[in-house]
Symmetry: C2
Subunit: 370 residues, 2 copies
């Protein structure tokens, strides 16, 4: 292999794929990044068996070929190269990668490219495309609600359900649930899978184009892949049955509240300063007289209270929540005003955007003694 | 105590003094910040016995008084307050601090203010003043060379020597030495003390005014204080004898080199990527043919080389250094070009600014087998 490519493009591609390089790889080869030069394309791959990331850049290829090199040093070296371009060269027998840029020359020991578990394009039984801005919104509004407890795998991912022309993503850690759906003009197909939050975070991280582009999704029984721009990302799916969350969403609420999203978020964040040291990070909300009275207390620290104006329709109610569960959803609400739906002090409440029923967040209250 | 002050000013003052609040305080009271309201001034103090930091802001004082409150929560709460102003109130018998800003009200448990070891103005036996930009330069060009090894305390601080009209600051970890001096129009006095690097770092951190202001320095046999703007900082001095470093500075050099500071720094940083995993982080420099050939190698990783242009006057020489010791000094050289002085491969070398002999950096080479 002998190629020349742009340094910044290579740096960016490495930064993307390197996120799949495990710090403690299961086998040594997984600490490597695989490169393949063919035609006018340099392809970079990294995988930790759970997810696989592939990036492609243009390159001037004198001799096609492949190589695998330790991800950490390769990434650091390329990032610090002085020139605009980078030359990479590797001969099969030498076991060395030559890197050249302006007046700097590096050699890095290579790994056996034949050992690298290369990522193959997934042959799915359902293929469809979603605009990246829509997919981003589906992920952003749900993935934060996933559990991090690996003991119960189904809760560590987002449920993706496609039913004809409707795509629904949902996540729950059993104490809160976030559901976002999108409807399309035409039928897409039918699937129901659980996608690990990790690959969804990678997607969020990389879907940043200003111009909406198509993300091609392919699904098999145990794998999913996402293809857009010059990136290809795959992940195993989570086995198991996602709970039937639809029964958790209350059909109606006794008390309807509207309040300013940013003011509510800032006040909850502030008042929860006192609650954070506690086990449940509990804040109390009292809805009455068109105000929300937010309080918290910790006998060892002190207490906090604040009133914010709200539009309240229905009976007064006092209810307590884990402050983090409120902060998390308010960060993902895009409308200036948010809606809160309440029934009883121990019944699940809802938080939603002002005029959009395609996104609903359900949170279970905390029982308090005060 | 009952006062009102500006929220941002209080936040800034807290941010400054909180750096003296130990995360693991020797006694509980040291986790607190002490506040005293008097006249039109609110004074904030924190100390860990080694250093003491005092900041003063203007306040509208309804009732003068003092209080001590846990530093961590107080700082977080004030920073997140919603209003422009903050009201603080505390009654001696209540053991509670009331904090109010716009619609937010907090109470925090207070500590016993009488227990706080308040910082008293130091009565030194030498008082003098230096412009902050000059003091900043003295510190910046030496403090990085201190040792962090607490087993040999004298090397963990900077030597400050005042002899008539000359102020010299020096630091060494025994492998490298950095010395910077300044001459004044008039005599200042005579002292020789070792100042802990910690307080010098605090000074660097806070001396950021664009307009040169006087820093008043007061020295006793075991304490030093710095006073500027609305800040007062004290520190114990390090006991012991700073080594007579003047003998370490070679009187002349056989080979004189001039090179571009930024290009040299970038190349050393880059080439040392390969060396960093080694024990001594060793890079080799070969000075010949008006070029510096920088190389490093690690049998387990690979190797690196780069040529940078230089003006070389004197015999060719190959010499090896701990790359970090070169990177550290180049960061603190302000001139576009730097000078390197060399004798033998195992003799100390010097690195200096282009036309300024008031700053000299001496570094001991590393013995290599290649």
């Amino acid at each position: 292999m002998k190629i020349t490519c742009n340094k910044n493009e290579l740096t960016n591609a490495l930064q993307i794929v390197a996120r799949a390089v495990a710090t403690k790889p299961q086998t040594p080869i997984l600490s490597g990044i695989y490169l393949r030069a063919e035609g006018t394309t340099l392809e970079l791959q990294a995988t930790n068996y759970e997810i696989g990331l592939v990036a492609r850049i243009e390159a001037d290829i004198e001799e096609p070929g492949e190589l695998t090199v330790g991800g950490r040093y390769f990434q650091e070296v390329v990032r610090k190269l002085p020139g605009e371009n980078v030359k990479l060269a590797c001969t099969a027998d030498e076991k060395i990668v030559h890197i050249e840029s302006a007046m700097a020359k590096f050699t890095l020991l290579s790994m056996n490219a034949a050992e690298f578990p290369t990522i193959q394009p997934l042959e799915g039984n359902l293929d469809f495309a979603i605009k990246d801005n829509i997919l981003r919104d589906l992920i952003k509004k749900t993935v934060f609600a996933c559990s991090t407890d690996e003991a119960r795998p189904v809760f560590t991912g987002c449920s993706l359900e496609v039913t004809e022309n409707k795509v629904t993503m949902a996540a729950t850690n059993t104490h809160r649930l976030s559901v976002k759906s999108e409807t399309f003009d035409q039928s897409i197909g039918n699937i129901k899978v659980i996608i690990p939050s990790r690959i969804l975070q990678e997607l969020l991280h990389n879907m940043s184009s200003d111009i909406p582009t198509d993300v091609k999704i392919s699904c098999s029984y145990n794998q999913i892949s996402f293809s857009f721009d010059n990136l290809y990302m795959t992940s195993r799916l989570i086995e198991g049955q996602f709970p039937n969350y639809r029964g958790v969403i209350p059909p109606d609420f006794a008390t309807h509240v509207k309040t300013d999203t940013a003011a509510f978020a800032a006040a909850v964040d502030r008042i929860s300063l006192i609650a954070r040291a506690g086990v449940y990070n509990t804040i109390k909300l009292e809805f009455a007289d068109n105000q929300i009275h937010i309080t918290s207390n910790n006998p060892e620290i002190g207490n906090a209270e604040e009133y914010i104006p709200a539009e309240i329709d229905g009976p007064d109610i006092a209810i307590a929540f884990n402050a983090q569960y409120i902060i998390d959803v308010l960060k993902n609400i895009d409308s200036k005003t948010c809606r809160i739906g309440l029934n009883q002090p121990l019944s699940p409440a809802s938080i939603q955007e002002e005029d959009d029923d395609s996104f609903v967040y359900i949170v279970t209250p905390v029982r308090t003694n005060h």
